[in-house]
Symmetry: C2
Subunit: 204 residues, 2 copies
DNA sequence: GTCTATACCCAGATAGAC
DNA sequence: GTCTATCTGGGTATAGAC
């Protein structure tokens, strides 16, 4: 049953790219792993680059399809900080527990230094938009007089979020391979302790 | 004057590797940039890998040659937190202001996902040893009753240092290229605000 | 220490038979 | 849609003349 070789090329590429990087994998390797000849790949994808593009688009679509609850913070003033904190962190965490999404995350972190599309996505959607969301949340906390008015929302947002971003980088690049699910648990736990530190610093 | 072509190969390689990654640069390119034939490179370095090794060893030697003042915290209880904070951060910051060291830092962050030696150095010397140093420093602060006794020194150390590590990653990978010296100023400024947040959270 | 010449290998991609 | 065969280009590295 060689149904859907296109999908097999897609999945095999995710695995190989995440393991050895885009440049470290050849069309021949992908074809070999799928069990077809390299020329057959070009019936499904126009080029090697096109496979990577498809992988990135798959990831973007899944990531952006979720509701970002933090963005609605201003419209839901009655819901407390804990609600948004849980929602924001866990929506990301559940994606990482998906094996395919987890592997693509590693590809993104590996390739972002020289792939423009990947770099732009990481910069905007993973980092800047998320930080902006947390800024809104801290602004809300100021408005509700949960934290001090002279607190710097942006510094709070960055202090919180960028710590977590390094845990991501550390897991996928520095400590790779280690168990993804254990990591997600650890990420949630450490993020909780970290946000407590920060919160303690500015609460009223 | 073709004095010291070995050094020119070394310097050109640092530049090219930092720009395009190790795999993205060929021996031909290096030779072309130096102005010699590719075969001549092998009179100075046994292989392409040997050039990268030399670059890493150069970086390691420079990094580890400095005294790490935080390590001596226990022996210098009379010096305050600010002293160690300044010393720890600035010793790293001055390295980054050196153009060669800065470029190699990018190489290390780029290549750490698939180069064992680089990965081991990053993990041990740049991350873990440094975090351990900060743990000692927070322990000292507990001993001097500057911060609360029930504070978690390791969490404090990680919360502080790993935020800074992401700023490094963000600069060298995500936002590259941008001005290195401006970045170092920003790093010091943001680290200061960040440590203030954390300190506020646990001071007595 | 640098050169020319070359060995050897593998990359991405295409043409055309089946 | 998969195959065989092939094109074209580039990679690391070596041998041996000068």
């Amino acid at each position: 049953m060689k149904v859907n070789n296109k999908e097999r090329i897609f999945n095999v590429s995710i695995y190989l790219f995440s393991e050895h990087g885009y440049d470290g994998v050849s069309i021949r390797q992908i074809a070999g792993e799928v069990g077809i000849k390299e020329s057959s790949i070009y019936n499904h994808y126009a080029s090697k680059e096109a496979i990577l593009d498809a992988i990135l688009n798959f990831y973007i679509e899944k990531m952006l399809s979720q509701d970002i609850p933090i963005e609605d913070a201003g419209a839901n003033l009655d819901l407390g900080f804990d609600y948004f904190y849980q929602a924001g962190l866990e929506s990301f965490a559940t994606h990482l527990k998906d094996e395919k999404m987890s592997k693509i995350t590693r590809i993104i972190l590996i390739e972002s230094y020289h792939n423009e599309k990947i770099n732009a996505f990481l910069k905007k959607s993973i980092i800047n938009d998320a930080v902006d969301g947390w800024v809104k949340l801290f602004d809300l906390m100021k408005f509700k007089k949960v934290i001090r008015e002279d607190a710097d929302s942006r510094q709070l947002a960055e202090s919180f979020y960028k710590y977590g971003m390094f845990l991501l980088y550390e897991h996928y690049i520095v400590n790779y391979p280690e168990d993804d699910n254990e990591f997600v648990e650890m990420l949630c736990e450490k993020s909780r302790r970290h946000i407590e530190l920060i919160y303690n610093s500015v609460r009223r």
